[in-house]
């Protein structure tokens, strides 16, 4: 089944519901050899689609926000969360925005919570990278690049040393994994109590899951991603695991936040905004200081790359309707001028004296 992306997606317009939030239909026509464990839509995931920010739709509107966040916290520290009242929601359901500390936590949460039953409703979980700030985006890309570079270096070292040593990184992964499990011991009780009324299977914590995947790979039977290449949870690098084990207990910190939830992230936070006027003035000053002739914008001669700006609405200066207000004012003034001569005969003395005193016409 082809991916249902046929409508115009003009980069200048912003839809009410972004296309990447929508659940696409699963593909049913895959040949057996490349069918995955779970039926999925035809979709490509890049770093641009992923984010620390998740949106959870389909949460029953019965006051279960705390339980939802506790569930999210099983996958990693939750930095912020809030209800998204402005987002269109189905009747009797609510939508929440959840910001995780780590992208890997968001990935694990999405993988495990999407399409799962929760208090009688079915959750739809998706990434919402549009809530990121510029700095968030930059850090996301940087983290991803350094992870890939590290993986490439490890692979080079592993192949240079010996074939067996490629298992060494995986065994070292287990050590911080167990640290992470220890820090979450308090959460285990929560997970058990949640499971019997949230209809979730007893959740293996992500590090344990990761551990079991690695063990399977040692036996050489099952690749870590499914046959469609969807992975999204397999690269727990060592540094990130250690960082997570050092972070505070997520459920305790969420209880302290109270039931209201904190405000969403300020889009401008962490970035210094320079007003446009300042930019114009600094540009003017630079032109005056440099005294150079205007630079030849060679780009204009080249073919235009990318979409053009939307053109401003053109104004017809000959249109009579533009003169409506002016005409009205003129008419009013004419009327007043006609009326004044009648009155001025009676008030001429007063007017002239007032002119003498004030030097102004009243």
């Amino acid at each position: 089944m082809a991916a249902p992306v046929n409508s115009r997606s003009d980069c200048w317009s912003v839809p009410e519901v972004y296309k990447h939030h929508e659940q696409q239909r699963v593909c049913i026509s895959r040949p057996k050899y490349r069918e995955g464990r779970k039926a999925k839509a035809v979709k490509v995931y890049t770093i641009n689609l992923e984010s620390r920010y998740l949106m959870v739709q389909g949460v029953p509107a019965i006051g279960v926000m705390t339980e939802l966040i506790q569930l999210c916290a099983l996958y990693g520290s939750v930095e912020e969360y809030r209800p998204l009242d402005e987002y269109p929601a189905e009747e009797f359901t609510e939508v929440y925005l959840v910001k995780f500390q780590k992208l890997t936590s968001a990935r694990a949460a999405k993988r495990n919570m999407d399409e799962k039953s929760f208090y009688g409703g079915v959750l739809h979980v998706c990434y919402v990278p549009e809530y990121e700030t510029v700095e968030d985006t930059r850090l996301k890309l940087q983290d991803r690049r350094s992870y890939i570079a590290r993986a490439a270096r490890k692979k080079t070292e592993a192949t240079q040393e010996s074939p067996v040593s490629s298992e060494a990184p995986t065994s070292s992964d287990k050590i911080p994994t167990s640290c992470d499990v220890t820090s979450r011991n308090e959460d285990t009780g929560e997970a058990l109590s949640l499971s019997h009324y949230s209809e979730f299977p007893l959740l293996p914590l992500p590090p344990q899951e990761h551990c079991s995947f690695r063990q399977k790979s040692h036996r050489g039977l099952v690749p870590t991603e499914d046959k469609m290449g969807t992975l999204h949870n397999a690269f727990f690098n060592v540094e990130q695991q250690q960082a997570e084990s050092l972070s505070s207990n997520p459920i305790t910190s969420n209880r302290e936040q109270g039931t209201e939830g904190r405000q969403g992230p300020n889009p401008g936070s962490g970035v210094r905004f320079i007003p446009r006027i300042t930019n114009l003035e600094s540009r003017k000053r630079k032109v005056e200081e440099s005294g150079e002739p205007a630079a030849n914008i060679s780009g204009e001669n080249e073919s235009l790359i990318g979409p053009k700006l939307p053109e401003p609405a053109k104004l017809d200066m000959e249109d009579e309707s533009l003169n409506t207000t002016v005409s009205l004012i003129r008419i009013q003034k004419c009327k007043r001028t006609i009326m004044k001569p009648i009155k001025s005969k009676n008030k001429s003395e007063t007017v002239s004296s007032s002119i003498e005193q004030n030097g102004r016409m009243n």
Binding site: S13, T46, E132, V134, F273
Partner: protein, 184 residues
């Protein structure tokens, strides 16, 4: 990764590429292309994908009529181009100009993948080409887009891939945009 898994993985990826080349079904091609692009997200697979010449396959998709082919191919390149060796392969095959053309695509995902890929392809050698006037002005227009993702990516591009001189050139050229302070 254990040694017994590696050949299986390679063979599986190879069967995907073979199916893509042999099948006449557009639908099957789209599915396989999306699979390969997703496999390209995992650094474990990059060496195999390079051996199977998948970077070139993705580059070929950028000039296809089918918009899904373009989108998935561009996504695959976005994933692969994070790896230094794959980056070299893409550059040697004239990737910059092909990817630059995708900046004009009407699908947002394709454009986003193209911007990210260009950032990944920036090296000291390629920087002059990647931060050329045409691309720079395109990014400046993107930084005014309503789409937050596109705006953010364009801002990161302008901050990271351009020199102070290039930014000054753009400001002198009359582009008024309220971007955050660009760090030199």
């Amino acid at each position: 990764m254990s040694s017994t898994e590696a050949p299986e993985r390679f063979e599986y990826l190879q069967s995907l590429v073979t199916e893509f080349q042999d099948t006449d079904s557009e639908e099957a091609k789209e599915q396989v292309l999306a699979n390969l692009a997703n496999f390209a997200y995992d650094p474990k697979n990059m060496e195999y994908l390079r051996e199977l010449q998948v970077p070139d396959l993705f580059l070929d998709m950028l000039t296809e009529e089918n918009e899904n082919f373009v989108e998935f191919g561009m996504g695959g390149l976005c994933n692969l181009s994070m790896d230094p060796k794959c980056r070299e392969v893409i550059l040697q095959s004239g990737g910059i100009s092909l990817v630059t053309n995708c900046l004009s695509n009407r699908r947002e995902e394709t454009v986003l993948s193209a911007v990210t890929t260009l950032m990944n392809l920036a090296t000291p050698a390629t920087r002059p080409q990647i931060s050329g006037p045409g691309i720079l002005q395109c990014m400046l227009r993107f930084s005014l887009a309503e789409s937050p993702r596109l705006r953010n990516l364009a801002a990161v591009f302008l901050q990271d891939c351009c020199s102070e001189e290039q930014r000054r050139f753009c400001i002198r050229g009359g582009f008024a945009f309220s971007a955050p302070v660009m760090q030199s």
